[in-house]
Symmetry: C2
Subunit: 226 residues, 2 copies
DNA sequence: TAGATTGTTAATCGATTAACAATC
DNA sequence: TAGATTGTTAATCGATTAACAATC
């Protein structure tokens, strides 16, 4: 039992990767891409760590979850490591994305240039407001939410973003799930429930400011803040 | 030495509060506010935990970092707990906020309604584009970035948001710091450095999608994703 | 060769969970 | 009273750091 296939050693047979490791992976990737733009060919765990405020040991440990990407005595080739991390994160392919909600935030996200570099392409937007349906925003066609199932199938959409008012978010989540979407980024400031197999990431803009507020006030007080 | 002042017992004399605890605090607050809107007067650690996917023990432990807010045998009064958490997070007061950058994202954030409920009020926007300076967006005046020091002082602005292109972010960060800003939310997809006493929170929208992508692909593969 | 840096193991540190006396 | 629920301590679990042999 317990087939060991390809992967060599690494921390454990099939250790579940900590969420914190994955979020650092994205930061390593971002920093590596900047290093390449600045003309660097290679880097090291200590350089990467210094740039991001992590220890060199942590950088090596994080990467070791997934394989051997470096060269002892040398370091890491930036482009090799970039390729490796993109493969791990799944951003070595194209991800057609659906945007639900074309209010302030939805429209801004439709125009956001940063997604495309990682392979995310918003291919359709959805709304229920007849004033908005049929329009084209930033080159993206706005469909009625009722058309989600067909459009999602046609464009092989696997990921969706929810940028609707809090009160509508759960309904949208349900519709995304039944349209076969596999992952959702929720920008609405509410907890939504989705079937177990549908992954979700929540982004609450007010909460980010709250975290900041906490660290500002607690710096002044007991100095507990970071 | 080591003056013990007001605070009673709690985990340790002045235990530094883990970052993860603070982010859950914001989620408790959001859920409590929803409970109140739905007509609930009180709740319990197990209800709060169930709604958010945490254990009841974790909810109690998190709150116990800050004091005794509940009643054994009874639970927590929603409005008392809301008041307590807002005080802890520092959102029991008004925070005038500066928005730097009035592109897609900056404009969307200027119109975002969710901030005001937690006391955050964007009182001034800044840009360097002469086409934009002088305009009023969503009721907020756009100043030239050079005017940041005076405007920040006049409006007692302590927090800033950076919504400019990656290449401009570090310069904006420097200017915010010298204008006396104490905390920054950085939406630009780069690492910025700030003086030690200036707190920061980074929000990278592409990274959020990457985290989602990872958990979608790793669910299908080895089931490591969450 | 000497110096640098990786991947990995063992030691430390911190956070979560379980359990329970105290309280209503 | 019996049942419910808190705050807190001790036990478990997981993540980070330190150290070092292997490698270039």
């Amino acid at each position: 039992m317990s087939e060991r296939k390809t992967k060599p050693s690494s921390p454990a047979p099939d250790a579940p990767v900590p969420k914190a490791v994955v979020s650092r992976l994205s930061l390593y990737l971002r920093e590596l891409q900047r290093l390449v733009r600045d003309g660097h060919d290679r880097t090291s765990s200590s350089q990467l760590g210094r740039l991001l405020g992590f220890s060199d040991a942590q950088v090596r440990k994080d990467l070791a979850y997934f394989g051997h990407f470096g060269h002892p005595g040398i370091g890491y080739r930036c482009d090799d490591l970039i390729r490796a991390i993109r493969k791990i994160l799944g951003t070595d392919r194209d991800w057609p994305v659906a945007m639900v909600g074309t209010g302030n935030l939805g429209r801004a996200l439709l125009g956001y240039k940063g997604f495309s570099h990682q392979g995310f392409r918003i291919v359709a937007a959805f709304d229920v407001d007849p004033q908005r349906v049929g329009a084209t925003i930033e080159g993206v066609r706005v469909f009625h939410l009722d058309q989600l199932p067909e459009v999602a199938t046609d464009h092989k959409i696997k990921l969706g973003m929810i940028a609707v008012p809090a009160g509508a978010a759960q309904n949208v989540a349900d519709r995304l799930a039944s349209a076969g979407i596999e992952g959702v980024v929720n920008f609405a400031p509410v907890t939504i429930s989705l079937p177990e197999h549908v992954r979700q990431v929540g982004v609450d803009l007010a909460i980010e400011l709250e975290q900041l507020s906490f660290s500002v006030v607690s710096r002044i007080a007991g100095n507990g803040g970071a």
